[in-house]
């Protein structure tokens, strides 16, 4: 019998990509420039040297999965092609950024200074 599962630890994986960053991308940029704008790609397979994948994957406590991919292709160190979803992380997480919060919303007993105001940060 499969036991009822009420709670799963939400799984967040991959790079957070926002429309603002993608707008800054232009064909012909060097790898260093792309890395400065987008951050380090977490999927950087050693078999495909000239291809960077900015993948975002989010599985919420009820096991619903939402993910997005952004694939960048390079030709001798110059950005040659941008593919992938236009549904970027920001949309996935919803503008209110509510579910970006990975934990149940009770205020975390602050380890730091006692009595410090540990109001949860929301958008």
């Amino acid at each position: 019998c499969s036991l009822p599962v009420f709670f799963r630890v939400p799984v967040v994986q991959g790079n957070v990509v926002t429309a603002k960053e993608v707008k800054k991308l232009e064909i012909g940029m060097t790898k260093r420039q792309v890395k400065y704008v987008m951050g380090t790609p977490l999927i950087d397979s050693s078999f495909e040297k000239d291809r960077w994948d900015y993948v975002f994957y989010y599985r919420d406590p009820r096991a619903h999965v939402r993910q997005s991919e952004l694939n960048l292709f390079f030709v001798n160190d110059k950005l040659s092609d941008i593919e992938g979803d236009d549904e970027y992380t920001a949309q996935i997480l919803g503008d209110d950024g509510q579910s970006q919060e990975q934990f149940e919303d009770t205020p975390l007993p602050a380890e730091a200074t006692p009595g410090a105001n540990n109001e949860r940060l929301t958008y």
């Binding site: 994986q13 977490l42 994957y57 599985r59 991919e69």
Partner: protein, 284 residues
């Protein structure tokens, strides 16, 4: 009050020196004392040998036996499973006698000490699944021995140990990748699997790592990356795929149905072990 926190290091206890037969060694010369120490070693009593070795070094520091004793006390520490003392003794020997003809043996001993330092504890349990820093240290020691002393007699065994350590470290990383796969953390799983492929080429965990990468990329809907990984797996480990199921049966310790071909080798069918038990050998 407050107790005296003085330090008093005067070396070993001072009861009279005895050799294995029990006769007194107080007035013995370097050679006799060294010989009785060796007797204790042969008789599997490293603690007693250690005392005599120390005495030889103290009383006859300039005799050839002193250097010999210093070396053999490292062995004695290793045999007595006092691995910390063995490693620091080896380090001191290496610093003071870098050109000693037996220096490769000392490197070998230090590597073995680090190799065995993780004891398994009374209830069993697999030390490789835990803090592997000593294991990594022993890998560097063995590789030092192999590079610096290519003609050393311990080179062959060191290489075998290195292969074993590399496999065990690779298994550690593959287990983590396996865990992340189960937890649907596919980016983490693919990255861990990739470290196995890039850092531990020859290890026997590479095929499984490639598989994990393939499955993770598929789940992250990166089909072309998944295909690339599949192609590499097929190209470099054909037997793994052909005999995958038997590979895991044997690895889990079940009775082998047939002799597995070399995982890394060219594609080949399995040869049945004993003719009657082979239900049907897989063709090539």
């Amino acid at each position: 009050c407050g107790g005296d926190k003085g330090i008093n290091e005067t070396g070993y206890s001072d009861e009279p020196l005895k050799d294995r037969q029990g006769n007194d060694l107080d007035s013995a010369d370097a050679e006799r004392m060294y010989k009785s120490a060796r007797e204790f070693m042969v008789d599997e009593q490293p603690e007693k040998a250690l005392r005599l070795y120390a005495e030889v070094q103290a009383r006859f520091p300039f005799s050839p036996y002193a250097a010999q004793s210093e070396m053999e006390s490292v062995t004695a520490h290793y045999k007595a499973e006092e691995f910390d003392a063995a490693v620091s003794g080896a380090d001191r020997f290496i610093k003071q006698r870098p050109r000693n003809p037996h220096i490769d043996y000392i490197y070998y001993l230090r590597a073995l000490s680090n190799y065995n330092r993780n004891e398994t504890g009374i209830l069993g349990g697999d030390p490789d699944k835990r803090d592997t820093s000593y294991l990594r240290q022993s890998f560097t020691d063995f590789s030092l021995l192999v590079q610096n002393y290519p003609q050393s007699v311990y080179r062959k065994d060191a290489q075998l140990h290195m292969i074993d350590i590399r496999n065990r470290l690779a298994t550690f990383d593959v287990n983590v990748a396996e865990y992340y796969l189960r937890r649907h953390a596919y980016v983490a799983a693919s990255r861990r699997a990739e470290t196995v492929v890039s850092r531990y080429q020859g290890s026997d965990s590479v095929p499984r790592a490639l598989e994990i990468m393939e499955e993770s990329y598929a789940k992250l809907s990166l089909p072309d990356l998944a295909e690339d990984t599949r192609a590499i797996l097929q190209a470099s480990y054909p037997n793994y795929i052909l005999h995958r199921e038997e590979f895991y049966r044997q690895r889990a310790g079940d009775k082998p149905r047939y002799d597995l071909p070399d995982v890394g080798g060219a594609p080949a069918g399995g040869k049945p072990l004993d003719p009657d038990s082979a239900e049907g050998s897989n063709a090539g």
